[in-house]
């Protein structure tokens, strides 16, 4: 056998289930030298990982949401179900972790997102347009309910109470509003936003 043939057979061995295991020291040495990779490789692996985990959670695209929640809360719940972190989602959609946190807590309202940003999220979470609309209706109802609660709060105790709600109060208020959400007429601006997202996803 030539040296090439022996190397080829060794290659077969290394690519088989009988491959001799690398030692810890060898793995460490390899990791410390692993640098000749195309830029963004690590991020792409992580993004693919997140997509695969969410695909396992929802093998089929979601056409209907059984438990109506505001959009951000629903994203948070699904992320937690999949045991993913905000950082994971952030890497998958090319944003930072704080951005995801603000969407989940609805500091950023869904319709304040750019259509491309929302599209990448709903694509990642496998939401179909009708399911997205369901969530947006709940978000809309929650925001309206929150506005009413803020007006009442500001009138009570002669303004001693802060008009702004804390995160947990806001969450509780949103969840209380959620089951009462009914197919309200969404504003034209939100409907147009939804249409833009659908176009973006189709693209």
């Amino acid at each position: 056998m030539s040296e090439e043939e022996v190397s080829k057979r060794l290659q077969d061995l290394f690519r088989s289930k009988d491959a001799p295991e690398l030692t810890d020291a060898e793995i460490e040495a390899f990791i410390s030298t692993a640098s000749e990779v195309p830029p963004g490789t690590g991020e792409r692996v992580r993004a693919k990982f997140v997509r695969k985990v969410l695909e396992k959670l929802h093998p089929q695209p979601i056409h209907r949401v059984d438990e109506p929640l505001p959009f951000g809360r629903w994203l948070e719940r699904e992320r937690q179900k999949a045991r993913l972190s905000r950082e994971d989602i952030a890497v998958a959609v090319g944003k930072d972790e704080l951005f995801i946190a603000r969407i989940e807590t609805e500091d950023i309202l869904p319709w304040q997102l750019k259509p491309a940003e929302a599209a990448s999220l709903i694509d990642l979470f496998r939401l179909e347009p009708e399911a997205l609309k369901q969530l947006i209706i709940v978000s809309y109802a929650a925001i309206e309910g929150r506005k009413d609660a803020e007006i009442i709060a500001s009138r009570s105790r002669e303004g001693q109470l802060s008009k702004k709600m804390g995160g947990h109060v806001k969450q509780a208020s949103d969840l209380r509003q959620a089951p009462n959400a009914y197919p309200k007429e969404l504003s034209d601006a939100i409907n147009s936003w939804l249409n833009k997202i659908n176009e973006e996803v189709r693209r």
């Binding site: 040296e3 057979r9 060794l10 290394f14 009988d18 990791i31 692996v45």
Partner: protein, 192 residues
């Protein structure tokens, strides 16, 4: 809003490993940051895959680690990195097998092909077993050089082993020669 601070955890620390097995997100994120890129590079080199495919396999590895770390990983049997790389090897093998089955063209004489393939498989299996046996009879240094030759340059291996580059090349040359001779002797003995 609390966000993580990208602290890298020491994946050899038993406390960190316990947190990882208990599903701590911060530690798992750190593992991903530390291993995603090297895994893709390892898979690409070891299985001769393009980076796009290697990234796909590396993501599958991460999914498996995410699912199984609290279930199948036993720290007594080795480090978490070694366990992860072992999963990478298995996933890489599956990928190659899948690729082979996709590339296979429909055969005219199917049964004949199956018989021939079975014969080839048994021959290959014997050859692999012999080779594995011969490989394990090499010195530690020779084994290490050959294992690393698949994934690292000679200069990197030399730095790791603490020897000169020409020593690495010399050892590999001799080891390959030894494997060649020893396999030939054993295969001849079997055929006789």
């Amino acid at each position: 809003v609390n966000t993580s601070d990208n602290t890298e955890f020491d994946l050899t620390d038993p406390d960190v490993i316990e947190r990882l097995r208990a599903g701590d997100e911060l530690v798992f994120n750190s593992l991903q940051r530390q291993l995603s890129q090297p895994l893709a590079q390892f898979i690409s080199k070891r299985f001769n895959l393009c980076y796009q495919d290697a990234e796909e396999v590396a993501a599958d590895v991460m999914v498996k680690v995410h699912e199984q770390i609290g279930v199948s990983y036993d720290p007594a049997k080795g480090s978490v990195k070694a366990w992860t790389f072992k999963i990478a090897i298995n996933k890489g093998i599956n990928r190659l097998e899948h690729q082979k089955s996709v590339d296979k063209k429909p055969e005219k004489d199917r049964w004949r092909t199956i018989r021939e393939n079975r014969f080839k498989d048994s021959q290959n299996k014997y050859r692999l077993e012999t080779l594995k046996d011969v490989f394990s009879s090499l010195s530690e240094l020779d084994q290490s050089i050959l294992r690393l030759s698949e994934i690292m340059s000679d200069a990197e291996i030399a730095a790791f082993e603490g020897v000169r580059i020409d020593v690495v090349r010399q050892h590999r040359y001799r080891a390959l020669g030894y494997i060649d001779r020893e396999c030939a002797v054993r295969e001849k003995e079997k055929s006789e």
